[in-house]
């Protein structure tokens, strides 16, 4: 790992001022909990000359807006999201997602902003000796090589699957990120935060190199909403998602779904909303028939590679199980 300067700015403008306008492998980057960027540096993927810490910016607050919505600071730890009783009552799926992340040690250090901005886990990307599209190279070795963990949606020319659990659940919850840069603050809905490899290879989000994600606002859920996050970890103790499902439904008095939202994680280079699955549920009675139909709709457009066709079966099963847990 190359030496780097640690910047500890006292305010947001100073922090933004430390960041470069253009991306380079050596350019300064944001440091929150350090659980991802430090591994990226240790694996020699990027070599930022400086890390700009958010530690002194006071971004670790949780503010309720009085209507049931909440704004979560970028440096709120994942463990806080997993433990906070008010969040659990309002957004149980968020807590399930937070609890599924990493290990207790990692959750205690990792942050909301860091989780949303983490880099791919593709073993080729992480291997210090491998060059790939995501590292300025000219090939995706996963496309024809080991692609068991790769994307079944939205791939090409790179086929990594996005690792963020919180991105998946926050998209389902209709959250919006606040992003600050030299030109001030802008609001980016989670649905617009991420980009596919066909749009950009050097980054996974619409954030510019000199922008900082400062908070995420989750609107109050409609009354009678039920939501769940179900993540399948190959190693249950500690793992990224093979696939995950964030789902919410609103039921009428007779158990018929009047509204639904289904977002998949771990299967595409960004959190992958499947409106077809929501449509398959809407107007149906909550029950195995509707859950099976939703699962089938969720994978209808899947385009698996050689070793990840099982994710098609898996997503169907997870959609079913996630909905079953809400019945």
């Amino acid at each position: 790992m190359k030496d780097f300067d640690l910047k500890l700015p006292e305010n947001l403008d100073a922090a933004i001022g430390e960041l470069p306008a253009e991306y380079t492998r050596e350019g300064a980057q944001v440091l929150a909990g350090g659980q991802d960027i430090v591994t990226v540096m240790k694996d020699d993927i990027e070599q930022p000359a400086a890390l700009v810490s958010l530690q002194r910016l006071g971004l670790d607050g949780i503010q309720w807006d009085g209507d049931g919505g909440v704004t979560l600071g970028a440096t709120v730890t994942v463990q806080t999201l997993a433990d906070d009783a008010d969040l659990e009552r309002a957004f149980p799926a968020l807590r399930e997602a937070a609890r599924s992340i990493g290990s207790p040690q990692i959750r205690s250090q990792a942050t909301l902003g860091g989780n949303l901005n983490q880099r791919p886990r593709c073993p080729y990307y992480r291997h210090p000796s491998v060059s790939c599209f995501k590292k300025g190279g000219s090939v995706c070795l996963a496309e024809f090589g080991f692609n068991k963990y790769a994307a079944i949606f939205g791939g090409g020319p790179s086929y990594f699957s996005h690792p963020s659990d919180l991105a998946t659940v926050l998209l389902m919850l209709g959250a919006t990120a606040s992003v600050s840069g030299p030109d001030g603050e802008r609001q980016v809905p989670l649905a617009e935060l991420y980009v596919l490899p066909e749009e950009s290879l050097e980054t996974e989000t619409v954030l510019r190199p000199d922008e900082i994600l400062t908070s995420v606002t989750i609107p109050a859920p409609p009354a009678e909403t039920r939501s769940s996050y179900l993540k399948f970890k190959e190693r249950a103790s500690y793992d990224f998602a093979l696939a995950a499902v964030a789902v919410s439904v609103v039921l009428d008095g007779s158990g018929v779904v009047t509204d639904a939202r289904v977002v998949l994680g771990g299967v595409a280079p960004k959190p992958w909303e499947v409106p077809a699955a929501a449509r398959a549920l809407t107007g149906k009675s909550m029950g195995p028939e509707a859950w099976t139909a939703a699962g089938a709709a969720a994978v209808a457009d899947a385009d698996p590679l050689e070793h990840n066709g099982y994710k098609v079966h898996l997503v169907k099963g997870l959609v079913f199980r996630a909905l079953e847990s809400l019945a």
Binding site: R121, P123, Y124, F146, F232, R235, S237, Y310, G317, R321
Partner: protein, 726 residues
């Protein structure tokens, strides 16, 4: 300095009646538990010496290459670099990803400086076809990667046993026949402590000190003698604590030789421990295999014929796989045919690993037995008992069946089916092992102040050996374990065996017992004038000695020792009659399968294990549990992954090389088979690692009808077995 007590033994030592034991055959907390729990225990990794250098090796990232240049200039000018050396020259080839791929060694003042210097070495190499899979190795015109002299292909000579025509005829006449091809991946040892040494050089011909993470304290001096340029007697190896070996740490290896060489050259202590990535690339593994197994049974479920064709996948080494039928008996031995060969890839050679070859053989054989039972509508336990000769296996299978709840299980003679995508199943497996015992020595010293030292060079790999080094002596002398100091892990102590094949206990314990017995008789010789009874007529119990049958003639331990004018040294050696190495074992596993997601959750595992006299029941259960966990992890998760295009070892970390964690661990029951009343001891570590993954695979099949023929049992495997590959 005390002298050996030279008097003939009045009697041979014995383990005694179990009902008389006060220390052994009980739960003894391990004597080094507290220092391990607090971090006070110093492992080789933890050794810090004044002026010590930190060394690292550079491993080429792909298995095969022609080296064009290795430029050390920039690296040698990095801060803190003291020694840097290339191990290959331009024109040399890297033949496989193993020790042959180590291109350079660097030693620096700090670990970070050593790592940075490694990164600054510029290697130009032409990458060659990787040959990392058996398919690549068997391709027409594939590069020959075998290390055998004059090899013209990557296939070793097939070992054929039996008459194929006889086996075919028997199979043709069988009532039920099953044929399957099994694929078993390569498994890493995953020792918590990676391989390595700290070498403290010494001037002239003084004694060099080597801290080694080794399974062979007594053998390592010889292994380093040539590199260190001195007689083995001038090399002292210390292994005070050791973080696991599982068969991968028998010798110093290239990493030990390099540590010694750098220490020699620089004259400074050198710390060279492999990183996890290095470890997975060059420090050995359990060989994989592909087995096509065909087994037939008669209408009573007796095995009547068997054919096995297998490829052992041991990289550049041969790999291991015992011949069939594994443990089970075929009624006519002539109806067994096998053809086993090695297929070599340009990858790290396999090494011994806890029961080498056995878990691989178990996986195929237990699957075949399960499937024959279902074809015949037989109970899974009944068919096993019918085909196992040993009554020990029979009783052990019945015990694990009882403990796992077999009698109440609905799918005893046919697989079940999922209800709402959920299914519960039970599976079984058996093991055998022959833990040896051989020459080993121990010194027991009793001092006039009552202190006792039990000393033998043996290493404690984490098994609890250190505890019985004290406990056996405590038992013999009527003391508590804390009154005996155990000294181990030092090649200057009386020599012990290399820990491989579960031989440590069977070798060391008899020598310790012999020394303790001699010490006791030495003390009894002093008592003949005091308590007026001959040697052999004393009872040593609760910190006192008394004359057998006359408790009034008695002395406390401290008073006995006060009779000594100088320390009493008793030298024990291996006594064959104190050891017997023939053990069995049975396991059962209960799993829940989610057939919608492919999740396999192991709910419970049970082992019943014999080993003669249990020296320490707590340590024994721990080791049985460890065997179950290792087998579970092997079955559920472990798999080495190579990129097949270029040959990168993608799973060179514990992120992608997944091992079981706390959430994978089921309820575990370790039953000690107390119907085994043999008055002997032996090791047993290999047996409980053999059948666990087989029992889990059997339980998955039993739950939902999906027979997984490859490992590990991850969701992709389960889902593709159930619904086909997309």
């Amino acid at each position: 300095m005390s002298r050996p007590t030279s008097r003939p033994a009045a009697s041979d030592p014995s383990w005694g009646e179990r009902s008389d034991l006060d220390v052994l055959n009980r739960d003894i907390p391990r004597v080094d538990g507290p220092v391990k729990a607090t971090g006070e225990a110093v492992y080789t990794h933890d050794v810090r010496l004044p002026d010590m250098l930190w060394a690292r090796v550079l491993v080429h990232p792909v298995p095969r290459a022609e080296i064009e240049s290795i430029d050390l200039e920039a690296a040698s000018e990095m801060p803190g670099v003291v020694h840097i050396e290339a191990l290959k020259e331009p024109g040399d080839t890297v033949r496989y990803l193993g020790d042959d791929a180590v291109l350079a060694v660097v030693a620096a003042e700090t670990p970070d400086q050593a790592a940075d210097a490694l990164g600054a070495i510029v290697v130009q190499a032409k990458r060659l076809a990787p040959v990392v899979t058996p398919e690549q190795a068997l391709e027409e015109g594939a590069p020959v990667v075998s290390r055998r002299r004059k090899a013209d292909s990557n296939v070793g000579r097939a070992n054929e046993r039996g008459d194929e025509a006889v086996a075919d005829a028997a199979l043709a006449g069988a009532v039920a026949v099953v044929e399957r091809t099994f694929e078993i991946p390569i498994q890493h040892h995953v020792c918590l402590e990676t391989h390595g040494h700290v070498v403290q050089p010494a001037p002239d011909n003084d004694q060099v000190t080597v801290y080694a993470s080794t399974q062979s304290v007594s053998g390592t001096p010889r292994g380093l003698a040539r590199t260190l340029g001195r007689d083995a007697s001038k090399i002292r190896v210390l292994t005070p604590h050791m973080g696991g070996g599982f068969g991968s740490k028998f010798g110093p290896g290239l990493e030990g030789a390099l540590a010694a060489r750098v220490a020699n050259v620089t004259g400074r202590p050198v710390h060279l421990m492999l990183t996890r990535a290095d470890e997975f690339a060059i420090a050995g593994n359990r060989s994989g295999s592909r087995q096509n197994l065909k087994v037939g049974a008669d209408s009573d479920g007796r095995l009547v014929g068997l054919k096995l064709e297998a490829d052992k996948l041991g990289g550049v080494s041969g790999g291991s796989l015992p011949g069939p039928p594994y443990i089970y008996t075929v009624t006519d031995g002539a109806a067994v045919f096998s053809k086993i060969r090695s297929v070599h890839t340009a990858t790290d050679g396999s090494r011994a690993m806890r029961a080498p070859g056995h878990p691989q053989a178990s996986f195929a054989m237990e699957a075949a037995v399960d499937e024959l039972a279902y074809l015949l509508g037989m109970d899974l336990v009944d068919i096993r008992i019918r085909n196992l000769e040993s009554a020990v296996h029979h009783r052990q299978l019945r015990r694990v069946a009882e403990e796992i709840g077999w009698a109440d299980h609905p799918n005893r003679d046919r697989p079940g089916a999922a209800v709402n995508g959920r299914a519960v199943g039970i599976g079984f497996g058996v093991s055998v092992w022959g833990p040896g015992g051989r020459s080993s020595r121990c010194d027991v010293t009793v001092r006039p102040d009552g202190s006792v030292v039990s000393a033998t060079a043996t290493q404690d790999l984490g098994t609890g050996a250190r505890t019985y080094v004290a406990a056996i002596v405590a038992e013999e002398l009527g003391l508590t374990v804390d009154m005996v100091e155990a000294r181990i892990g030092d090649s200057d102590l009386p020599p012990s065996v290399t820990s491989g094949g579960s031989v440590t206990t069977g070798s060391s314990a008899p020598a310790i017992k012999d020394a303790a017995h001699k010490a006791r008789e030495g003390l009894e010789a002093l008592l003949t004038d005091v308590l007026e009874a001959p040697v052999g007529s004393y009872v040593w119990k609760d910190g006192r000695v008394s004359v057998r049958g006359d408790a009034s003639r008695s002395l406390p331990w401290i008073a006995v020792c006060a009779l000594l004018r100088e320390p009493l040294l008793a030298q024990g050696e291996f006594r064959d009659f104190l050891h017997e190495g023939r053990i069995h074992g049975a396991q059962a596993a209960k799993v829940e399968v989610d057939t919608l997601t492919g999740r396999v959750k192991v709910l419970k595992m049970v082992t019943c294990q014999d080993q003669g006299l249990p020296l320490n029941r707590l340590a024994l259960r721990s080791q049985i549990n460890g065997g179950m966990v290792q087998a579970l992890s092997y079955g559920l998760l472990e798999q080495r992954v190579f990129d097949e295009q270029d040959g990168f070892l993608l799973s060179d970390n514990l992120d992608l090389y997944k091992i079981a964690g706390s959430q994978e661990i089921p309820e575990m029951v370790a039953l000690i088979d107390d119907e085994d009343e043999r008055p002997s001891v032996c090791g047993m570590a290999e047996a409980p690692v053999i059948p666990g993954h087989s029992a889990i695979a059997g339980a998955i099949h039993n739950a939902c009808g999906a027979r997984l023929t490859r490992m590990p049992f991850t969701a992709d495997n389960v889902l593709e077995t159930l619904y086909g590959k997309i």
